[in-house]
């Protein structure tokens, strides 16, 4: 197949019939791939929405709250996976961006009285912009150095947010209340109960995942793949590295900001002490463990970040023993599963599918 994927359809020329047949085959394969891609996108959205609809039937109040936080963090993990899976860039400040988005959403919700969706988008927008600024050093730094620099940013945010705290209903720039009770973030009108809010968050997660998938399957995704291959290749193909790389950081920041706003809505308040630099590192680590090459990895990462500790708490496991367990699990996953748990699961799914599909389309083109 000698079709250039950047050009799309194959130009028809007056070549030999064999070449024409080859071209037609290539076009058919491309169309089939596009259909499959659309199908998998629909499947992904359907899966997430199904989870959102089904879980509140089975889960008690404790688990609904936990899984709501889980889904919110899956949104952030999707952003981290985008940066690392598509571009190979390590950002260790995504949890800080989550905090920044949550801060803006809380301030907008309490102080300006904006509708919830607008607060979420405002949080996402701020984190998008800050993410793009954080990504500017990425043009010069790579690998471990970028990781360290983003970790420094996360450390700086940790100190600032410890001093300023999060808005909780007061006035002024910081929005902190002094004489009276701390307020909870007002939830959207159609998602006031915990169960309804869980479904609401699932809808947001599906939307964000779809947004990322659409990016991946269009020009942006192809540009990112070229940038990952090497700057020379990308420049030669005419890709504007600055804009696409910065846009990736912006998108990841947007994911983190939305996640922060959703988390704030779920818990009601955010606390400055929960936004240490270590949290950003754990977010990255568990996203890698979940799997950065598939959307299910983001879901698994969210579960690892919130549901697994909650499970251990439910069983009464001592918090420090749980920490040891987590460390061991992290090491094990990193050593044995380079594409994460999602990668292993998809491998199993593919193997099963091949076993059942093998007799039928033996003649189909790969």
């Amino acid at each position: 197949m000698n079709a250039s994927i950047l050009e799309g359809a194959m130009p028809v020329s007056d070549a030999a019939p064999a070449a024409l047949a080859q071209a037609a085959l290539a076009q058919a394969a491309l169309a089939q791939a596009a259909r499959r891609a659309r199908r998998s996108l629909v499947l992904m959205v359907a899966c997430v929405l199904l989870i959102g609809w089904a879980v509140p039937w089975f889960a008690n109040a404790y688990w609904i709250k936990t899984l709501t936080s889980s889904l919110a963090l899956s949104v952030a993990a999707a952003g981290v996976a985008l940066l690392y899976g598509q571009l190979g860039l390590v950002s260790l400040c995504q949890y800080a961006l989550l905090g920044a988005g949550g801060w803006v959403a809380l301030r907008a919700g309490h102080g300006l009285g904006w509708p919830f969706e607008l607060s979420v988008l405002a949080g996402g927008l701020l984190s998008c912009v800050v993410g793009m600024l954080a990504g500017l050093p990425a043009l010069r730094l790579k690998g471990l150095y970028l990781a360290l620099v983003t970790m420094m940013m996360a450390g700086g945010f940790q100190v600032v947010v410890n001093v300023t705290g999060f808005p909780d209903g007061g006035a002024g720039w910081l929005g902190r209340v002094f004489g009276s009770e701390r307020l909870m973030m007002p939830r959207p009108a159609l998602a006031l109960s915990d169960a309804a809010y869980f479904r609401y968050v699932a809808v947001w997660l599906a939307a964000v995942l779809a947004l990322i998938e659409l990016h991946r399957r269009t020009r942006a995704g192809r540009s990112w793949a070229l940038i990952r291959r090497g700057e020379a290749a990308a420049v030669a193909a005419g890709v504007n590295i600055l804009s696409y790389q910065t846009w990736a950081f912006g998108l990841a920041g947007f994911c983190a900001g939305v996640a922060g706003a959703l988390l704030a809505g779920g818990v009601g308040q955010l606390d400055g002490r929960a936004f240490t630099a270590g949290e950003s590192v754990m977010l990255f680590a568990l996203t890698v463990v979940g799997g950065v090459y598939h959307w299910a990895g983001a879901l698994i990462a969210g579960l690892l970040l919130r549901a697994v500790p909650a499970l251990l708490t439910d069983f009464g496991v001592n918090g420090y023993l749980a920490m040891i367990f987590f460390g061991v699990a992290l090491l094990h996953a990193l050593i044995t599963a380079p594409s994460g748990i999602a990668g292993q699961l998809m491998g199993v799914v593919d193997a099963v599918r091949q076993r059942f599909a093998a007799p039928k389309d033996k003649d189909a083109a790969p």
Binding site: R140, G143, M152, G155, Y320, M323
Partner: protein
């Protein structure tokens, strides 16, 4: 001037902390290509071991040796059993894996020793260098002065090791390209062992000093690596003298930041701000690590 002297002196103590940790981190990075998140955790465990032995009335020297040995053993265990399995992955993943190890060590330490106010007292705490300027009196305990001296000594010693000895050369080669070094006939496992034992020894010594200068508390000592990374960044993950100078500078500036009225509440962000400023101001082409 009187207002600033106390903070310059106390900043030197803090700077020693950052310089020591920074050197330990850069040493391991240059000799194995891994940024060790578990550096603080391993040192903390060593310090707790020393505290327990001192409470049981062991002699000082033996307690310290036990602490350093414990740290070396832990470091070696990771370096020989776990690190080789990740040697084909990219450096960031290998560094994140040390985070997993750090969680295991911190969890174990906190679970075993629990939360009880403790203090690791070293014999050098008794004496101090006194600085008097007018009415202002500041003291730099011998422990902190020792910390500064050790940072410089380690810098010199390890610098010599890496640049002038065969073992150092092999370590640098291994960190640079593991597969190629193996092809050239360098005994990979042997050199790895040396590198991790060395790092463990540093972690043990740093742990003892940090537990004395800062606080004997495992989680805090573990996450003290994050400001220490700032010192490592100033040294560009390569130059030990720059790391030491950077660490001391960060410490002094963080302490001096108390005197700045609006900034005092944010002074713990000083290491991060300085590291970021260094990155922005001293861009040197594409830095690949």
């Amino acid at each position: 001037m009187e207002d600033y002297l106390p903070f310059v002196i106390s900043g030197l103590g803090l700077g020693a902390v950052y310089a020591l940790s920074g050197v330990g981190l850069v040493v391991l990075y240059r000799s194995s290509g891994v940024l060790n998140f578990a550096f603080g955790a391993i040192g903390a465990l060593g310090a707790y071991v020393a505290w327990t032995l001192l409470e049981a009335d062991w002699p000082q020297g033996l307690a310290w040796c036990a602490a350093v040995l414990a740290a070396m053993a832990l470091s070696l265990a990771y370096g020989r059993l776990l690190a080789p399995r990740l040697s084909h992955r990219d450096p960031t993943i290998r560094s994140i894996a040390t985070l997993g190890f750090a969680l295991v060590v911190v969890g174990f330490t906190e679970w075993t020793w629990g939360e009880q106010p403790r203090r690791l007292v070293l014999p050098t705490d008794g004496g101090a260098l006194e600085f008097v300027l007018g009415e202002v009196e500041v003291r730099l305990t011998h422990t902190r002065a020792l910390g500064l001296a050790l940072a410089v000594l380690m810098m010199g010693g390890v610098g010599l090791l890496l640049s002038k000895t065969r073992v150092g050369l092999k370590m640098r080669a291994l960190a640079n390209d593991r597969d190629l070094s193996a092809l050239l006939g360098i005994r990979v496992l042997g050199v790895d062992t040396v590198a991790w034992i060395l790092s463990g020894a540093f972690a043990g010594v740093c742990g003892l000093l940090l537990a004395n200068i800062v606080r004997l508390q495992a989680t805090l000592l573990t996450f003290l690596v994050i400001p220490a990374f700032a010192a490592a960044i100033i040294g560009r993950l390569h130059s030990l003298p720059a790391t030491v100078a950077g660490g001391i500078a960060i410490g002094v500036l963080e302490a001096l930041a108390i005197t700045v009225p609006g900034f005092a509440a944010f002074r713990t962000a000083t290491p991060f701000l300085i590291a970021l400023a260094m990155i922005v101001l001293y861009r040197a082409g594409t830095r690949s690590a």
